[in-house]
């Protein structure tokens, strides 16, 4: 009988119920879309921020002071310390290995480059040869390989022509890239052949082919960019590099992350170590790569942290506002549907139903409405979140079961709350005046 009453109220007034359901579905769709996007956006934006480049710089611990101005190290090649390239696979074995999205070692060495043209040689001033990785396969100690390089750590390094160099086998002519300004001032084009010499006076000539023109907007525009192995040969430092840039996905630093790990309790330290804070990742790297100095590039890490924290907060606010508005509107609709059923309530009470039974009956109706409307709203919301995610990040957020549960729970709470006040009033109606139509 109870179920029949509930079912009846749906079939007898389909239009009314449909409107309530529409209000509910719309509200819950807003909530679902906003919630899905908010849950997902932190990760997507953190990824986006990696276009700022590396956020960790690794240098040898026992190094002489770098004489670096505008990105060029003016130290002679034999000064200072070096780090072994062979260790770099260990970067992908740290606790947060999947957060390390790219790394590239750098070794720069001054060389004399002559343009070879029709057997004649056009001498050029000394230039910096920057040795690094491009699409380099790194062997990870667990037996797999990982492909990374400067084009992912420094995405603003862009080709103006040609292609990236590939690492050629020894014995073949190595490939290099030429910085945009250098190419313009010395008339080098893709396909040109250069003769590299250690010094103007040295006799061993290394021929190389130019395969691309690079533009970076920095000092690299006036340099040669070559495979790391070539720079190592010129610096006479086989298997070594001088600087390593690491790009890692991190969690913005909060006040907990700024505490000095030395003064943390063991439990705090575990929590800190197992959170992808930039400082925790820096510590894990220095544990793997012995004798290194891992420094956080503050301008990148702090800038990213600031913006991310604010945007995340902003989106949560929008989500909350959406939930609030949806809740109020749905509540209003629920309240209205109870008010207009006074006659029915009066009749039920006249036939002997007590206040509790009337309340339970109406609440059951509202709950049924909440589940159907909430489910529908969830479906619409997932679709909207997908459209939104694809338009903005080119990546749709995965529908999460967790969101569905939150939405259904929310729909139930809102409709019950919205109808609670009028229901209470309704259960106290005196049937006689209502049935008389007063």
């Amino acid at each position: 009988m109870f179920l029949r009453l509930v079912a009846d109220s749906f079939t007898r007034r389909p239009r009314r119920k449909l409107l309530s359901m529409a209000a509910l579905a719309m509200g819950m769709a807003v909530a679902t879309a906003a919630l899905s996007v908010s849950l997902d956006v932190g990760d997507r934006l953190a990824q986006e921020f990696r276009s700022l480049g590396a956020n960790l710089l690794i240098t040898p611990q026992a190094d002489s002071l770098p004489l670096e101005i505008g990105g060029v190290d003016y130290r002679p090649a034999n000064a200072g310390a070096y780090l072994p390239e062979a260790d770099l696979g260990k970067l992908k074995t740290i606790f947060w290995r999947f957060n390390i999205i790219a790394f590239a070692p750098i070794l720069d060495v001054p060389v004399q480059a002559d343009v070879a043209k029709n057997d004649a040689k056009i001498p050029m001033p000394q230039v910096q040869l920057i040795g690094t990785w491009v699409n380099h396969e790194v062997k990870i100690p667990d037996g797999t390989t990982y492909v990374t390089g400067i084009e992912t750590t420094n995405p603003w390094w862009q080709l103006k022509g040609g292609r990236w160099f590939t690492e050629t086998a020894s014995g073949r002519v190595p490939e290099v890239l030429v910085g945009e300004k250098l190419a313009r001032s010395s008339g080098i084009a893709v396909g040109s052949e250069l003769h590299l010499l250690e010094k103007a006076s040295s006799s061993s000539i290394q021929p190389v082919t130019v395969v691309g023109i690079l533009t970076t907007g920095g000092p690299e525009d006036e340099s040669l960019i070559a495979p790391l192995s070539l720079a190592q040969a010129f610096a006479k430092q086989p298997g070594m590099y001088r600087r390593l840039y690491v790009s890692a996905l991190t969690k913005p630093e909060d006040s907990f992350a700024r505490k000095d790990p030395k003064f943390m309790t063991p439990a705090e330290f575990d929590k800190w170590y197992c959170t992808p804070y930039i400082s925790a990742i820096a510590l894990q790297i220095s544990e793997e790569l012995k004798g290194t100095d891992v420094r956080v590039i503050r301008r990148v890490a702090d800038g990213e942290g600031n913006v991310l924290t604010r945007v995340r907060m902003l989106l949560w606010l929008v989500t909350f506002a959406a939930l609030l508005a949806a809740g109020l509107a749905v509540g209003a609709s629920a309240a209205a549907s109870v008010i207009e059923r006074r006659t029915e309530i009066g009749l039920m009470k006249a036939l002997g139903a007590n206040a509790a039974l009337v309340g339970v009956l109406l609440a059951a109706e509202q709950l049924l409405l909440a589940i159907v409307g909430g489910g529908l709203g969830y479906a619409i919301g997932v679709f909207l979140a997908r459209v939104l995610g694809e338009r903005i990040f080119g990546f749709a957020p995965e529908p999460k079961l967790f969101v569905l549960l939150v939405i259904l729970g929310l729909a139930a709470v809102i409709t019950l709350l919205g109808s609670a006040f009028p229901l209470r009033k309704a259960s106290r109606y005196d049937p006689a005046p209502i049935l008389r139509g007063e």
């Binding site: 770098p66 907007g217 590039i297 990148v300 609709s333």
Partner: protein, 386 residues
Amino acid sequence: MSGTPMFWRIVRRLLTANYSRLFVILLALGAGAAVTSALLNLQIDAKKRLTTEFRSLGANVIVAQRETGSENANGSTLDEALMAQLPSVHEAKPVPAVGFLYVIGEVAKEGAPHFEPAVIAGTQGHGLTEIRPGRRTEYFASLERDPAACEVGAKAAAQFKVHAGDSLLLRNQGREEACKIFAVVATGGAEDAQIFASLKTTQALADLPGRLSLIQISVTGTPASVNGFISALSNSLPGADVHGIKQLTEAEGRIYDRISGLLSATVLLVLLLTSLCVMAGMSNVAVERKNDVGLMKAIGGSVRRVVHLFLTEAILLGFAGGLIGSAVGLGVSIWLGRAVFGVAARPRLIVYPVSVALTMITSIASAFPLRRLASIRPASVFRGEE
């Protein structure tokens, strides 16, 4: 016809006959209006604030000598007088600019016999956080005003085993200067290995009075406005090379576009769905007016007049709900701005009429199902038939 006292009397009775219903309707409309105005206001404000937040990335524009030779660090320099030609304000935001002169000199801790080469950067003024963001690990505020004081990068401080309060000797080609360290700064970049001395000291060391290696500028604004600043500045300084730091300008542009797109889309979505939601809720309320309509028609009210009545009611309700809700929303957005950006969002007056108008439109649109009431036959209503 709709201006008669009778008409207004009926409208008044329609509104005040049932206070709990009036409250429910105003709540729904007001909530919608509050969300609308809060989000609109916050969104305008947030986009402006974001560009300010980006400045924690440091300088994004560099002025240098045209055709610098990279082979010589002490080479081509700029005239210090250029600094005076830089605009101090861009789009009502101050434009901090700092001149740098770089010298590769020799440095030692006072009293230590051994000198080591290091980059000495001469800068004007202190407090350069907006130009080169970093963290001061040691700091003596009392020394900061001393013109001969200098700041040392973390790596250089470790190398020379010095701390804030110690003195350094700087030497270049026979010229020597001393400076007292007031801060040790960690940036993670090349600055960590540099010594920041006053410009005068460095110019004296390099024997380049009145010269600068480059000027770093931090411009606040959207990517397009920063590019505008760069091209305007390079036109007004024909002898100098003005360029954006590609690493920052490109990434900033990209991230700004994403975030502002995300915000606009979310806000639009929320507004749209909120108004639909309010509309659906309101329609539900409106449909129960069937009895009133039946009665009006029974005593001879024309369909047009009845619809007029309900439209007037909807407009009044929308106006009242909009006025109250939007005001609440603006207040909320001021508070939210403080919560998110630490600065209260400035209420923008344009938001108020816009959100009131939107609420009225929603309210009128939700009275639309009433059109169907025109087909109601009074007799069947009174008999209690659906």
